[in-house]
Each structure stands twice: as structure tokens, then as C-alpha cells.
Symmetry: C2
Subunit: 225 residues, 2 copies
Amino acid sequence: MTTYYKEHQKIFVSVDCIIFGFESSELKVLIGRRKFDPGIGEWSLYGGFVRNEESIDDAAYRTLYELTGLEHVYMRQVGAFGRVDRDPGDRVVSIAYYALINVKDYPEELMREHGVEWVGINHLPPMFSDHHEMLIKARQLMQDQIKTSPISFQLLPELFTLTQLQRLYEAVNGEQVDKRNFRKRIKDMDFIEKTDLIDKTGSKRGAYLYRFNKNSYNEASNFKL
Amino acid sequence: MTTYYKEHQKIFVSVDCIIFGFESSELKVLIGRRKFDPGIGEWSLYGGFVRNEESIDDAAYRTLYELTGLEHVYMRQVGAFGRVDRDPGDRVVSIAYYALINVKDYPEELMREHGVEWVGINHLPPMFSDHHEMLIKARQLMQDQIKTSPISFQLLPELFTLTQLQRLYEAVNGEQVDKRNFRKRIKDMDFIEKTDLIDKTGSKRGAYLYRFNKNSYNEASNFKL
DNA sequence: TCAAAAGTGTTAGATTTACACCCATGA
DNA sequence: TCATGGGTGTAAATCTAACACTTTTGA
């Protein structure tokens, strides 16, 4: 066996997951207290080390699966974080990924088991290492991507009301929008389909439920919010 | 000394530089043929391994300096690339960075010494490993960033004509724009200052030279192209 | 009967796009 | 004198933003 790069140094590579959820009109992330040293007890993202026989994307999906039991989740790389002293335990280069999940899909018992909880994006505690920086960057990236790509539906149940969708946009962008203007834009997107189902949990009168039609999106692709 | 992560595996981490330049109304990148195995002779980005005692950003700057002799260059991370088999030599996770330089700042002799050359972004040859993918992603990112951030000036000499600036935007975005509309937008940006110098190299009549004023930008920051 | 959320159009203002001619100069 | 790139303004069309009232129903 030829070893080409033996004069160079190997480094620990890890992944950290920024898991976004949407609940009570608030954008939230899943964080927990570290269970081991270094940094035991500090607030932290959920992460894991990249193994030799798996790609970094696979490592991210595996880590997310370990924590949530969920597969086929929307995930995107945020970037690599590589300050020399970013981890007090050893030199570790970490690659951050953000994931979008529907909070209802995450089983409560797994949440308790891993000791993680949903924390509002505007109420983050001080965090371990550079995790806060990762979060900020992930949030920024997600905010940019949600404008041009129909990823918001990943954060909602399959059926949702227009008010829910609007609250989501407001939470992500951190500013209120006009209801009539918002709905006008939605109407232009044929892939957001009105069903004849009514949701009565949010109001007495009830609101129509809508659904994102992935197939008719692929053709249309006139997305802009 | 405590070693916290010894049950995990270390991996080679490298950086690869996508160096953009602008010449003859074309956006170009600096690439060369690999001088060593694996992949000797294949077209490749310039890269290097991350050392234990340097951050990944520092590794990128060092690599760029090795190749070009340039410091204080505009650089941004593109992202981490980590397919298991992406490098035929060994498992290597590579972090791509793009850099913007003024082609005239790059000494020809260093270019020959390293065996690299400027290749038009629309005439890329097949490349080693996932370098083509890195290039495409870097180009996309740069294109997004150039719209909202005044980085175009990094690709131009300190003094430039409006036609040069326009050609640059056209090259980056891959589409022509209207001269009058373009100049109208520039006029609204006070930090692009007209000098009373004339450049006669591009035309008989001569064109006014402009300059980007970094200081007045920081205050103004109404950038949109 | 009333509080609370759902639903619905119009208009003014701002932004964007399309478009054509004269100027200065060196060859 | 003419070919070449430099420089300039206006009008139509589109997009964006502001704005208020009626409906339904459960408590």
C-alpha cells in the first residue's frame, strides 16, 4: 500500500448540527448541555466525529439520526470551523450543518433521553466553543435560502394554514409582513395548493389548510419571498 | 496531558484555493497541472494540508501566499468537501476558499515557477478529484456576494473605468447589462469616486478613472447591483 | 353579543427596464 | 474623415408597499 501524504498531519474532524424547528410562532433550535468533558455542563449543539469510512454529509445525517431518529431530513452544510483552540479537548475541525424539522416529528422521549430542548433563536444562552458563531451563520444562511427556495415547508406539518406560513416567515426574517401582500404572493405560486380542509385549532372560524406540492414546484420554480 | 478524543479517528484536512482574476473582459481562475501523484498531470486547484498549529483560514492564506506571494487578499470559505473517495491518495477532507486578486499583482515568474495559468471560467478542462465541483460552488457564491457586497474592486486595479467595472459585472453574472442603467446605479453610490484622471488605453477619447473609497463605503453601505 | 382570527382589492409611489444620439480623438 | 469607445436622459411598465373592513363562530 502506498501512502502519499504521510509527511502531513491528521486532525480530528467533527460535525455539528444546528437543528431548526418552528413552534409558537418562534424559530427554535435544539441544544443541550454537554454530558462529558471538556466543557461538561455547557450549552452545546449536538455533534459527532467523522469516521474514516463515511463522507462528511453521511456523518451529519448519522449524527442527526442518532439524536432524532429522523431520516430524509433537509440538511445543508453551513461551513467548516477551524480555529486552532476552538475545542479545549484537542485540535478539532468541525463542519456545521443546519437541518429543518417539524417539531412534532421529534419524539419527546428521545428529546429527554439526550437531554436536549428547543430554545428560541432570540433567547440563546452562552454556548460551548464556537457554537454560537455556528448558529448565527446557520441562521443567516437559512434566512437567505428560504427567500429563494421552498424550504419553509420542511418546518411545517404537511397541511398548514396561511397564517402559520406567514408567522414562520416573520420568525425567520425577524420582521412582520402585511397579511394581504403576503397572501397575494402565495396565490401566485401554484405549487402551494389550497385543500378543502379546515383547521379549527387556531381560530373559531377556522382556516383553510394548504399543502406544498413538490411535483408541480419542480416545473414551475417561480419562487420569491 | 489528558487526551479526550482518542477513541476517534483523525483525518487529513486540506485547503484548496479558487483564485479568481479578471482579464480581457473575462473571469478567470488560476489552475495548474498536478506535479505529484496521485493524479499527476491532471488539471487541479492549488492547495495544501492544514497543519496542527494553524487555523484553517491561516492555512488558506498561507497556501495562497506560497503560490502568489500576495498578502491581505480577499478570501472567503466556500465549504468543506468530504466524499470518502474524493482523493485517490488517502482520506482527505478539503476546505475550499475563493480569493479575488488583481491579475497584474501576480508576478509572472511565480506563475511560471508553479506552473499555473489563468483559464477562462467558461473554458475549464476536466479536473482532478472534485475540483470542478468546488469551482462551480465558488463561482456561485462569489456571484451572490458580488451583488450585495463591494468585492468587485478586489479584481480591478485601484483606478478603473466604468466600462471595466461593467465588463466585470457582465463576466461574473454571465449576461450583458445596459450601459446607461449601469452608470445610473453607480452614480448613486457615493463611495465610487470619480477622479480627474483619464485612461487612454481603452479608447481614443479616453475615459475617466474611478476609485473605490473604502472609508466612505463603511458609512454609506447602500450597495445593490 | 362580542372577541378573535380569517379572508379579501385598490391605489400611490418606487424601482426597473428599454431605448438612441452626440462627443472626442487617433489613425 | 471616420471608426471606436465614452458619455448622457426620458418615459413606460412593473413591482412594492400601504391601507380597512366584513365574515364566521365559540365562549
